[in-house]
């Protein structure tokens, strides 16, 4: 097995909040994972669970308050802005909102070659680079003269992908690469990313809350809740037999395109706790149908089971249903 390209170790991100003392709130509360070359790692969780904050921390756009981030053998979380500059050639970011992340006053040609100008173009033939990048992402060369408002959502995504791969990175972090796209266009963008991953040997971190997408594209998946990983493992293993009740609830809630499907759902109270007042003990116990006395007082640590990890005192067996719902399945 190859060496990880990215190692994130016990990373914490805190945001100052007026009136609650020096500590602030923890947007990311002690997260560890690694990504190997050619691998796709997915971060799932609802809005506000810390996925984007974690991605920004990895990319150096957000300072961390604890932990360590290593990329291609170098520690990067302590680097200055100038030191980070060459790192960002190797690790690129695709931001949410396809059109919003492209400057409306630049043409597609300028947009895809902007990374070269920022990182020193040293005699590159910009026209040739434009052609190379546009053809890599499957756009006609004459798109170089278009402006972002003349692009469809899927085309704008392709331009975003072209910008991300311009400098031959080793890792791409894609934040909701398909949010707001229709299923047909979503497939195109994911196929493109996967094709580039295979051809260029890229590693990828994909952030999404679409579980069906994760199932198809990710090798490994981490489920986030209130800034922590509550379950991590091989995607197929996690989807096949979730160990943490939140993962199980997420998977059982996933609406499927079949009007006759009878759902055996694990229903959760909809009140997500605030980061300002994290619950004591296991932070999921306020919504957990299986919670027991111990869960509200002691915080569970991370338990490793082979290649998988989870944070739960009472991990689930396959097909488990909450007390009182056993007959529903």
């Amino acid at each position: 097995m190859s060496e990880p390209i990215l190692t994130v170790d016990d990373v914490e991100v805190t945001f100052p909040v007026r009136g609650i003392g020096k500590e602030g709130i923890k947007g990311v509360a002690g997260v560890s994972f690694d990504v190997r070359p050619g691998e796709t790692f997915a971060l799932v969780g609802e809005s506000g669970s810390g996925k984007t904050t974690l991605a920004r921390a990895v990319n150096g756009l957000q300072a961390i308050s604890r932990g360590e981030i290593n990329f291609e053998g170098q520690r990067i979380d302590t680097m200055s802005k100038a030191q980070m500059q060459p790192i960002r050639r190797r690790m690129s970011m695709m931001f949410q909102d396809p059109v919003g992340s492209l400057s409306p006053r630049m043409t597609v040609g300028d947009l895809v070659t902007e990374p070269f100008r920022i990182h020193g173009a040293e005699g590159r033939d910009m026209r040739a680079e434009t052609e190379r990048l546009l053809s890599l992402v499957g756009l006609p060369v004459d798109f170089a003269t278009r402006y972002p408002h003349q692009l469809s959502g899927g085309q704008a995504r392709r331009v975003g992908v072209a910008r991300a791969i311009a400098l031959d990175p080793a890792l791409i972090i894609a934040d909701e690469p398909t949010a707001g796209l229709d299923v047909s266009v979503q497939g195109e963008v994911l196929n493109l990313l996967n094709d580039l991953r295979e051809r260029l040997g890229l590693a990828m971190v994909i952030i999404t809350h679409n579980l069906h997408v994760v199932h198809h594209v990710a090798d490994r998946t981490a489920v986030m809740y209130l800034g922590r990983f509550i379950e991590t493992g091989e995607t197929e293993a996690v989807f096949g037999a979730p160990r943490h009740p939140y993962t199980a609830a997420l998977l059982s809630a996933n609406p499927e395109p079949d009007p006759d499907k009878v759902h055996a759902r694990i229903s959760l109270p909809a009140e997500v706790p605030s980061l300002l007042s994290r619950p004591a003990g296991c932070e999921f116990h306020t919504r957990c149908p299986w919670a027991q006395a111990r869960c509200s007082s002691d915080a569970p640590g991370e338990v490793a089971e082979g290649a998988r990890r989870h944070r739960c005192y009472f991990p689930l067996d396959p097909g488990a249903m909450p007390p009182g719902m056993e007959g529903a399945a």
Binding site: H209, A253, A270
Partner: protein, 328 residues
Amino acid sequence: MTTLAISGLNVWFSTEDGPLHALKDVEFDVPERSIVGIVGESGCGKSTLINAILGLLADNGSIEGGSIQFEGAQDLVILGPKEMQDLRGPRISTVFQDPMGALNPVLTVGRQMVNIQYRDGGSTAEKRARAEEMLSLVRIPDAKAALDRYPHQFSGGMKQRIAIAMALMMKPALLIADEPTTALDATLEVATIELLKDLQEEIGCSVLFISHHLGVIAELCDEVVVMYAGEVVERGSVRQIFNDPRHPYTVRLLECDPARQTSRSRNLPTIPGEIPDLRQRPAGCVFAPRCHRVHAGCDQAQSLVEIGEGHAARCNLALEPQTAEATA
């Protein structure tokens, strides 16, 4: 009574490069007390349709023919701006994707909920009581205290439920919900659509529900309208559309849903090609350039073919059942 009956609706936009035919002969009903879903790719005219119904088309857009009958009494196409304004809110209300866009960040939730009742007489205390009642209805815990909190003090799912409470406060006849669950995780998404279904039954309103998420449409809606390039290409009950789609576009769209791929696959299905330029609509079937079943008859304009009770598709092959493995 039909809440909304749209027939022969055509919308044009004038652009620098000539007139753009954004909606063409759109025709469907939203029956009373029903939930109708609209699906289709970006650019298929979903937003234009909503804006046409609400009377909020951009200045360069105009309705050229057709009617939008509301509650069998008023044609929204010919209603003046003042009359439309009186309908928006009390009779037709909306929920959008981003609840923060609907909530004012510098006013408490209670203040906003009292403010939107400005049309009604009665004291502020009565309006507050009504707001509290609505918040409990959308299952906000401790509704009374919630009235004095600001939007940022609620989670994303709760904000969306507050937006739903505000939209339904005046007991409208029609709620237009545009991607209301896109920003939520699966557990909150399901909770929100279940809530929407319960409230719809309780209030007795109709809902026009727009979503990319075919799973949510399948679960929530009674009827489905499939749009492509500004046309209704197929409509029918949720079972007719999901179990027996007759338009090749519907077939392909359903196949693209990763949720339909039971085995894990890195290579997801897509629909090759692009939506045509609506300034130069093809003379025949609008989907023909991308269609896997295109044949000689497709260069003629297509009309909606009735297949069964309430089920129609704009395709000359509509009467033949479609095979599942159409992608070959």
